[in-house]
Symmetry: C4
Subunit: 209 residues, 4 copies
């Protein structure tokens, strides 16, 4: 199996798993995995596909500008520029972007603050934070319709090999050194969002009694 075939399979596995959770509503979401570093090339989801299906046109290879490598009828996902930022600025190997109800609600509730911070929760160990008082901060950026502007706002928070950024009323982008780490970050973020929202509803009620 060639390198590109191996990476294709890894990304297809991630896509299948996220599709089973129904994390690609309305053909939303996009995924990428690095193939080569010098020069940079990565596989990214083709635009407009039903991500619950498995086909030979699910992904295409793009370069460091997010442009297709070689002849193809496929268009890279509209948000490929965000993945470009990840691979140009860090040593990440995989990046995932999904829309979920809970990440959208969190992004709106905390959007004016520009971030949400989690602490005192066991699962933040998934981010490599093992100290008892460790904090994990997720920035929230505005959802600029102009993708280069969105990519620029996103880029400001892309400084490490693994991380997460919320886009307000839109979704989350996470990245990690490899597919497993990117998926681990994503699952841990979604767990924290769901936990936070559920706890919030009871705390508000309890405070008032």
């Amino acid at each position: 199996m060639s390198l590109i075939e191996e990476r294709w399979q890894l990304l297809a596995d991630v896509k299948k798993e996220l599709a089973e959770r129904d994390w690609f509503p309305g053909t939303s979401g996009n995924l990428a995995i690095k193939v080569d570093s010098e020069p940079l090339s990565f596989l990214v989801t083709a635009s407009g596909k039903d991500k619950r299906k498995v086909t030979s046109e699910d992904f295409l290879l793009v370069d460091s500008d997010g442009l297709a490598v070689g002849e193809t009828n496929l268009r890279p996902s509209a948000e490929t520029l965000l993945h470009v930022e990840v691979y140009n600025k860090t040593n990440a190997g995989c990046s995932l972007h999904v829309h979920t109800v809970d990440n959208n609600v969190i992004s709106e509730l905390y959007g004016d603050q520009g971030e949400i911070t989690f602490k005192g929760q066991e699962i933040i160990k998934a981010f490599g934070l093992w100290e008892e008082d460790a904090e994990f901060r997720i920035p929230i950026i505005p959802n600029y319709a102009h993708i280069p502007t969105l990519a620029e706002a996103f880029s400001e928070y892309v400084n490490e090999d693994a991380g997460a950024v919320l886009i307000r009323n839109h979704g989350i982008t996470v990245w990690g050194r490899d597919a497993l780490e990117a998926k681990k970050y994503l699952e841990a973020c979604e767990f924290l969002f769901s936990y936070h929202l559920k706890l919030l509803s009871y705390q508000t009620l309890l405070v008032k009694n």
Copy 2:
């Protein structure tokens, strides 16, 4: 594979996927896909079937009046007249009707207003709306027990090749140029309903503190 077999398979795939989400509670819901335009014929779900099963009696062919084409023991779904409106008035290729808890709650909360409007949410791009301030409006019609009356009320909002109408305390009907677009509209609507309901519960609480 004949045209009708191909369309059958496409509709069976959609049915399977919606069944996996449990969107056909109590044998509810009905699906249709256009086969021919001149004269109009389309496949529609047979009445009273368990939509989690896959059988050769899941669908039957009907004409522009919603009547079975050829000899059959099957009865078309009771709400076939709504699908008739879609194919007679537009170039849609597929139409889907499902009951979910969230589309029912939305239809009741906003029923008196006769519509619900979404804006400022990334996923409305699924409706082909790419501008930052775009709005997507879903009309809500009363749930007339008399199906021809219901179809008439529904027909008022069937003017484009893709769209969505809520029926109060009943469910949603969406349609699109093909099965993928209809499904995309449906998923995007359900995402917006779930998002809106969840956010609403926190906004109300937050406003009160």
Copy 3:
């Protein structure tokens, strides 16, 4: 395939489907399907089994007293006496008992009233009620630990060939003329419970603003 084998397979299909929805938490729940009327015999789930597994010991045949027919090491489900009431008093062919979070919450919220009534909801057509102002009433009985007492309280509401009874802080028992109808009743009840609970939370909030 013998009659008993055919019924076994029908009940196994229902069990598999309900298991996929996770409606048998902690080995709870029990299912039955009639095999013969004269004398009465029906298959019922064996006690204490993991209902997500498929084995040749999932069900056993019992008589009109709920006692095992023939030699067996299997014990019928502790609540077999409720199924006995269904088959002795009606022409039902299948009866299902499951614990869900929502049916338990409904049973507690409306337990003191002894019933919950649904109307103005499309899905009550699943109960064969097609009029616009039709009502569907589900009685709620106390959860007597003594099963014969529970069966007696339950029996009071077993008068038709299809129906549903809630047991407070315990679960629901539904029955129908065949497996499909019993399942249809069950799904429609659960849909109504979930819908009612979700709407209730918003109505309460809205009233207060």
Copy 4:
């Protein structure tokens, strides 16, 4: 099939089932099954694996100190010491630790009280409690980052062959005489948590009207 192979398969089945419920977010969670008593050995999940995958490196054999038996590149789960307490102090055969949103919310809401008690709920029969007024108490311990300290706090509540302990803002550990009983305890606990949280939200609202 050897004893170790048989136990491996049992634990793999449990892992698969819990993975289908998405109870291992971010590679969290760990599972163990006893193989031998004299001297004690048990299989435990290897650290950092994706628990939705099935591989020959999912589990490894450890001794009564939680140390790997024989040569291996695998590291036992970081929380193996908790499983050590279970097998050293009781006759349990299987122990399961998972993070869910609901067990985390319960652990935080009732953490200051140090426990949560359930009664008047049918499903507590899953814990072998059949009396009408039976109570099931689940202790809640602080989430010490230092695992030996956590294991010591946990050990205080490990006195019977089946039981459950919540770790605040972390998750739950349950154990039972065999895999089926451990899973039954786990499912019953999660059902009680979800039921309690949902009912609580309505009771609070109802009280205020």
